[in-house]
Symmetry: C2
Subunit: 472 residues, 2 copies
């Protein structure tokens, strides 16, 4: 199969096409913006997802201006070459993976923060700005950009918009979608579209801005974004509560939300996750707990809020409730949570990270069901979860050189998604569909929804050149 593909790549027709493509691209790009060395371009072929095929790009382009992006898209349309837009490739669904003979359009060099306005509470940025860079820049002005995916130190705002990223903040502050007010987008044919607004409100026509958020580069290439900012909240204060079962921890989550609390963070780590984090970082977390709940508040009186939540945890069966003494101790607890995925990745040679989100009333069933799936397939599946959102991250750990274990990993992954749908949830709370969850998207949307989504795709990209093979 590989030999056949290589042969195909070496046919003169393909080489001619590549040369022509490179020449046409260089007509509107500086030489350093075009990468064609196959050893180099191969490193742009895929994001961080397992089990996702990735093709061989014909070229990688790193534009610095809107005009250069427009040139790339015009060239792609002229030559009918697919384009795969990319940020930092920290995605977990293969949404940024190359297709064969495509142009990989990496936006990482368009990384300027163009404007931060504390009165209008907006930032205007290019797509390659790293999430943490923006967060720190606005913090210096007393402002707060909430979306904080685990990869926030490396992932880009453009990538966050493409996948509608979430993070730990969402239980109080919502996902990326809620912070995107307006966009400049280069369409498949190279035309520039401006959507949305700089204002706090606006309802002029269909909400094209929101349509682009989470569209995984399949409708256009975001080249500028107007983002909403919040005032910086007080430092958050956290507590940790140990539970004898995942179900008991979930009961506490439900009680906290039912009583009207608004925590700034409400996270769950199961026993496997706690132990993995301890092994990796000697955090001194309670090694024997079945479920560890972390809750934080950034309210004016977080200690009082934590005391109330501590009582609800105790009533739900917590065996121990430990409030952090101060912001530094709180930060340590949150670091433990942030290390979860990395720690779980050390268990076996490979992982698949799921992203199912269920109504929080069904969270206990989701966690117990996931444990049953792990047992059925004889696998280790550690779970951390944005519990306050009902958004779970079951991490299937497996040896990728073991064919049978790999097969079981994939099957268990699918079974977890089926469980999520059966519980009234969605297959993806914040990671997106990409290649990994394509067939599951069709199941979640149903035929009518799928047909309309395809109709929208055809309206924006009639030649099907933008990130083909993703989503559906």
């Amino acid at each position: 199969m590989d030999d056949l593909r290589r042969q195909h790549l070496q046919t003169p027709g393909r080489d001619d096409l590549r040369s022509r493509l490179h020449a046409r691209l260089l007509a509107g790009l500086p030489a350093e913006a075009l990468l064609t060395d196959p050893d180099v371009t191969a490193s742009y072929a895929h994001d961080m997802a397992s089990f996702c095929t990735a093709g061989t790009p014909a070229a990688v382009v790193l534009p610095r201006t809107v005009e250069q992006v427009q040139h790339v898209l015009r060239t792609a349309t002229e030559l009918r070459v697919p384009v795969v837009p990319q940020g930092a490739r920290t995605g977990l669904s293969g949404g940024a993976n190359a297709t064969d003979d495509c142009i990989v359009l990496s936006l990482v060099k368009m990384d300027r923060i163009l404007e931060v306005d504390p009165v209008d509470r907006i930032a205007v940025v290019e797509p390659g700005v790293v999430n943490a860079v923006l967060s720190r820049a606005v913090a210096e002005r007393g402002l707060y950009y909430p979306p904080d995916p685990s990869s926030w130190e490396t992932c880009t705002i453009g990538g966050n918009i493409g996948t509608a990223s979430g993070g730990l903040c969402c239980v109080k502050y919502g996902v990326t979608a809620e912070y995107v007010l307006g966009l400049d987008v280069v369409l498949a044919d190279g035309r520039l579209l401006t959507t949305g607004r700089r204002t706090a409100k606006g309802v002029a026509g269909y909400d094209l801005t929101r349509l682009f958020v989470g569209s995984e580069g399949s409708l256009g290439v975001v080249v500028k974004a107007v983002l909403a900012l919040k005032p910086q909240p007080p430092a958050q204060l956290a507590l940790a509560a140990e539970f004898p079962s995942a179900a008991a921890a979930c009961a506490a989550v439900c009680a906290i939300m039912e009583r009207g609390h608004t925590p700034s963070l409400l996270e769950l780590m199961d026993r496997t996750t706690v132990q993995a984090v301890n092994r990796m970082a000697r955090m001194g977390l309670p090694d024997t707990t079945e479920a560890l709940l972390l809750c934080a508040f950034d309210t004016p009186d977080p200690a009082a809020d934590l005391a109330a939540v501590g009582e609800l945890c105790a009533a739900a069966g917590a065996t121990e409730v430990v409030p952090a003494a101060d912001a530094a101790e709180s930060e340590l607890l949150l670091q433990a949570r942030r290390l979860s995925l990395t720690a779980l990745e050390t268990i076996k040679s490979a992982t698949m990270i799921d992203d199912v989100c269920v109504p929080r009333t069904r969270l206990a069933e989701m966690l117990d069901g996931t444990a049953a799936v792990a047992e059925k397939y004889g696998l280790t599946i550690g779970v951390c979860a944005h519990a306050g959102d009902g958004n779970t991250h079951p991490v299937v750990c497996f040896d990728h050189t073991d064919e049978d274990e790999s097969r079981r990993a994939r099957e268990s992954f699918d079974e977890i998604m089926a469980l999520g749908l059966a519980l009234g949830g969605t297959i993806t709370g914040e990671h997106g569909v990409g290649v990994l969850k394509k067939e599951w998207l069709a199941r979640e949307l149903g035929p009518v929804g799928l047909e309309l989504q395809r109709g929208i795709k055809a309206t924006f990209d009639p030649l099907g050149l933008l990130n083909p093979g993703k989503l559906f």
Copy 2:
């Protein structure tokens, strides 16, 4: 002209078509769901906007079930009859106005609250539920549905979704769009589409839910909505501040937002508005003030927040700052604001209410510019504004029997929208486009945006039967 039209209506062809339509509709509807008496159907022909043409409906249908809505849409598709979906007709842009020979599809009888869940913090409702009815029902469970358009005692959730309504709450809580998680929608051909989710997060495919919000019934008919709820905040406490000029009041607004405050309400009433409210309701507002700013907090310590805001107002030039003593006094102040539109309507025989939203840094220019427009055209234009959002409501008062004054009213209205766009704003912050702002939508979107919006419309409604002639 009227004679010609009547003649046309009485041609046998049209009568035949109507009879056939009525018969086909009755095949799937109970008799009481169909209104055909022209005297009755005429009362469904328009919403509350001035200067918007309205046609003569062929029938009004008041369905009670999803199946009945599907039957209506199937019939409409079969017979190629346009359908105008309607709520309580409190809209201000003519978006619910009938077109000639259409079916008016009034959703007001589908008014059940199907579910309120305090753990998942959602309500599931039919489209005809009145905003205030929902707000009170969820308040009984300790929950809060923020969107509060002025018409909240009569307007329906379906109408709110259609126009993406705002209200006084938006400066802290955002608009209707932010509370719609999922929808059931009957498409133009009668098929049922389910979009979105019941979960806190979800990014599976393009955001069709958000596409329907603000689409003014032009893409499908919403028959069920999953709405997000918040925990009920503490009662808000308000202050009123008098300013010697609109610009000074706007400077205070900017200072309040720049300092990171999060008021639950930040409203402005100009002198004309204050005087009109006093005349109507003897509220004892300061009759000579140039601009009255109302600010409220629903935080744990609203008095402290109000004290800080009071200082900012004084620094910006407020001549008097009067904090309310308690919740009851606060409520009185808010009532004064809520009466503004009604009070301004008493000045002349007719009004046109504009809805331009600008970045809050440009609010002073917007208000001064509006005053200049009023002077230029020799008209009274009272302004109240959701100042914290930069969302102004210039109310052009005119005598509709005076042809010249009516012309000047329309011209001034247009000039105000031009000013809003020039200041980086949008033509509509929360009222929608309807018939009233059609040509202005095209200007705001530009040709590329307009083409894509039309493409989306064609994807959902290829025959163009849903609310034709609205938006674009």
